[in-house]
Structure formats: C-alpha cells, structure tokens
C-alpha cells in the first residue's frame, strides 16, 4: 500500500529499531529453527512475511531484503528494480521517470536513511538480485546467514558474488547469501 509505504519511510528510525530487534530475535532462534528444520518453516514464515511486509513496504518478496540499507524504502518498487540508488531520469519534485505519479523510491530511500541510526549503510554497493530466491523468506535467510556468517557456500557462483560485494554481504547477508538453501526456499518458478 503506497500510503503505508510512505508512513514507514517517514518513520524509518522507528522501523529500523523494530527491525534490529526482530533480527536479534531471529538470530537467537537459529538453533531452534535448525532443530525444526528451515525447510519446514519456509512456507509458513514466508506467508506471514509476505502479509506484513507487503502491507507496510509494498514488499515484492525478492527474498533478499535490504530495507535497513535503503532507508526502509523497498528498492523492488522501483520500476527498474535498481538496488543502488536513483537512475538519471528522476522528475522535478522527485517523482519517478516511469510512473510519474509515484515518488522516486530512491529519493524516499535517501530521505529515510537520513533519519536512521545506521543510515550510512545506504552508501554500500549492493549486489544484483538472485532471481531464484524470489518468493522465499528473507527473514529466515537473514537468521541463517547471520548465525552462520562464516560458512562458505558450496556454489562458487555465490562465493564470488559475496566476495565481489563483501561489505554488502557483511551488513545485509541475505543480499549475498552463502549458507545452504533449504529446497523450498528456491522457487525459480515465479520469476518475472
């Protein structure tokens, strides 16, 4: 919802706090999640996540959430799905080149970041999206990745990407995941 999205960005500092707490809880729950099995949790957590984030941020479920690094403005709402800042076509007043009635996602992102405690994160170069992870839970992924930050992936593709975007991997591990993916989190079907 566009208005909820604007509200979330206007209160980016508060949502940042909520997100940090949520992340701490998820990381602390990693042993429990591992026992239950991430694969069993995937569907239900993704369902809840889609509902909450969909309402608040117009979340598109890319599965690689970087909201804390983008001023709580979801970059997947950019018609070009840019992950690293505005394009060169922003209209006067900060409106979108492609959808002139919408505020530019990245103008809002920088605005949101300026109010956040760790707003500096917006300066980090983020990697391209792994389209296989669309539809899966970024919350569970962040929990897995934070808890196993040093685990090295089996796939060389992911290792190279994570190394090429090392700082992004550090601050937003879900954006360059290395841990083994449970079968249900890799969809591949609902790609655009």
């Amino acid at each position: 919802m566009y208005r909820a999205r604007l509200f979330a960005i206007n209160h980016s500092r508060g949502f940042e706090w909520v997100y940090r707490r949520l992340e701490a809880v998820l990381v602390a729950l990693d042993p429990l999640f591992s026992t239950i099995g991430y694969n069993r949790l995937e569907r239900s957590v993704a369902f809840v996540e889609r509902g909450i984030k969909g309402f608040l941020f117009d979340c598109q479920m890319c599965g690689q959430c970087v909201l804390s690094s983008t001023g709580m403005s979801c970059p997947m709402n950019c018609p070009k799905q840019l992950r690293n800042g505005p394009c060169g076509g922003v209209r006067p007043g900060g409106f979108c080149e492609v959808k002139p009635e919408m505020r530019c996602v990245w103008v809002l992102a920088w605005d949101g970041a300026s109010r956040m405690r760790e707003g500096e994160r917006i300066r980090e170069v983020l990697p391209p999206v792994d389209r296989r992870l669309a539809g899966s839970s970024a919350w569970l992924r962040a929990s897995r990745e934070k808890a196993a930050a040093l685990r090295v992936a089996r796939e060389p593709e992911r290792t190279t990407l994570a190394q090429s975007f090392a700082k992004a991997r550090e601050i937003e591990p879900a954006s360059a995941p290395l841990a083994e993916e449970p079968a249900k989190s890799v969809a591949g079907k609902d790609r655009r």
Binding site: P79, K80, Q81, L82, R83, N84, G85, P86, C87, G88, G89, V90, R91, P92, G93, G94, E97, V98, C104, W106, V107, W110, I122, R123, E124, V125, L126, P127, P128, R131, P156, E157, T159, T160, L161, S164, F165
Partner: protein
Amino acid sequence: MSLFWTDPNAIRPYEDPPPGCVAGSKLELALRAGKFAVTVEMNPPDSADPADVFEAAKPLAAVADAINLTDASGANCHMSSIGMCALLTRMGHGSVYQISCRDRNRIAIQGDVLGAAAMGVKNVLCLTGDDVGAGDQPGAKPVFDLDAISLLRTIRTMRDDGVFLSGRKIVKPPRLFLGAAENPCIEPLEWRPERLAKKVEAGADFIQTNYVYDVPRFEKFMARVRDLGLDKKVFILPGVGPLASAKAARWMRSKVPGIHIPDSVIDRMEKAEKPGDEGKRICIELIQQIKEIAGVSGIHIMAYRREHLVGEIVREAGIDR
C-alpha cells in the same frame, strides 16, 4: 579501396596496458597525463552499412579522445554499440562502449564485455538505461537484471580478479577503463554526489555526466564532490551540447528523461535571431565556464543531429587539440 586502415582479419595478441594504466586507451592516457580530454557522443545509424558509421564518426574523430557509441539510448533501436565500437576500433579511433542494463541480463553483458575487449575496445560506460516506455518499442520487456552500479562492480571483478560473477576463471581478463554516468542537475540534487561516491566505490575510473545547462547547480554539485575527495579518485567529464531551437529545448526538457534546462537558457534561444548559432554560442560558453571549475578533467559533447558543429565548438572554446 579498403575501408579499413589495417587488416581487420589480422590476429594480434591481447596487449597488456602500459604501467599505471588499467586499459591504456587514448582517453585514459590523456586523462592520466593531465590533458583536458574531449569525448563526443555519436548519433548511431539505422543501417547495416559500415560506411554510415565511418561517415558519422569522421567529423568527431578529429577532435575527440574517444567517441561514445550509444546503446539504444532513449530505448530507441539503432545499430548496436558493440558493432559500432568494433568498426571504429578498426579505423584506429578511440571508442567508449556504452552498456545499458535495460536490454540484457548478466550472462549477455559479461559475454559482450569479453567480445568487445577482444575487438579492441578499451573504454566502457556502465549505464542503467532509460525505461522501455521512453522509446520506439514500448511493448518490449525491460530486463534490468543488473543496475549501473552492480554492473561496474561486475566488470571490475572480471578485470581485476579475472573471474566471471560465477567464479569461473577468465583466461585473459579484459583490460577496460571503466566509466559511469552521473546526472548532477536532476533530483535528488542533495544525494547525487553520494551516488557518485557509490559509483567510484563500485569501480568507476571516469564519469561522463548528462547535459549540464545549469552551471550554478553543477558548481554546487562539484563543491560537494570535492568535499568528498571524489575528484581525486575519478576523472569527471561534464556533458554539454548545442541546442537547435527553443522548441527543441522545450521538447527535450519535457520528453527526454533526466534533462534539466533552466528557463533563462530557453529565453536566450527564443530571443535569438539565429537560434542555431545561439545554441552553439551557449554551448561554447558552458564549456568555458565548466572548464574553470576545480575537479573537472574534460568535457563530454553530445551534439545530437548537430555533429557537424563539434569541431568548431571545441576550437572556439579554446580547447587544445
């Protein structure tokens, strides 16, 4: 008569760049030597005839350190950038291979980067690209698999680490001088220099900007760029171009994404008896003003459909050639 200066079929070993250079292109050498560099954008032909490319390049090659070959700019279909680059390289001209993220995914782009390098291309400009809706085929599927900044990092990884983004080794990594675009006069003005910093961080060696018609705005941008120390890390070539008429200027401002032209410039064009000459004069004045701003390393001229004026503009602006 052969169109090519050298035998196009000759196989030469892939050269290593001279010391201190990443690619050793004419443009890189000029910039690193502290020369005020000139790059010029070429209007791509809608043709399969190489002669049309040579014809269009001829007036530009005499004054430019490198010619920019657009990649379906404005989402309008023309001859491909990589094709034109390959042709100009055979002529011995410096070229800038423009890559937009709109039409190709990471697989195609990385392959094309190797192909371009093998054809002798040494400069690349990484762009996000205008939306497909801006062009002549708005029904096309926009790709945007990468963005300009992740594209820069991808090519830098190929060049410096010698691997694809997949981790697979590249036997001979491409030697490329990496460029990025900036649009200093467009919203969000406050954050444009920060975005430039991100591009430098991602791997940009040089920056070409979109049209600058508002010098005070650009000066403000550059002041912040200098505060961030970016002018020491990257070569900045602001973009300029001659306007054809007040009507054309107004059309550009409202229809082409990302172009800011102040009313004062349009007024001047309106009042001029010969708008074409006035457009040229404004362009020369802009170059002379921009040249004096600290941190500027050269100029990027985009004279769409007015390429015949580029030589005069460079000469009359007092740039050494």
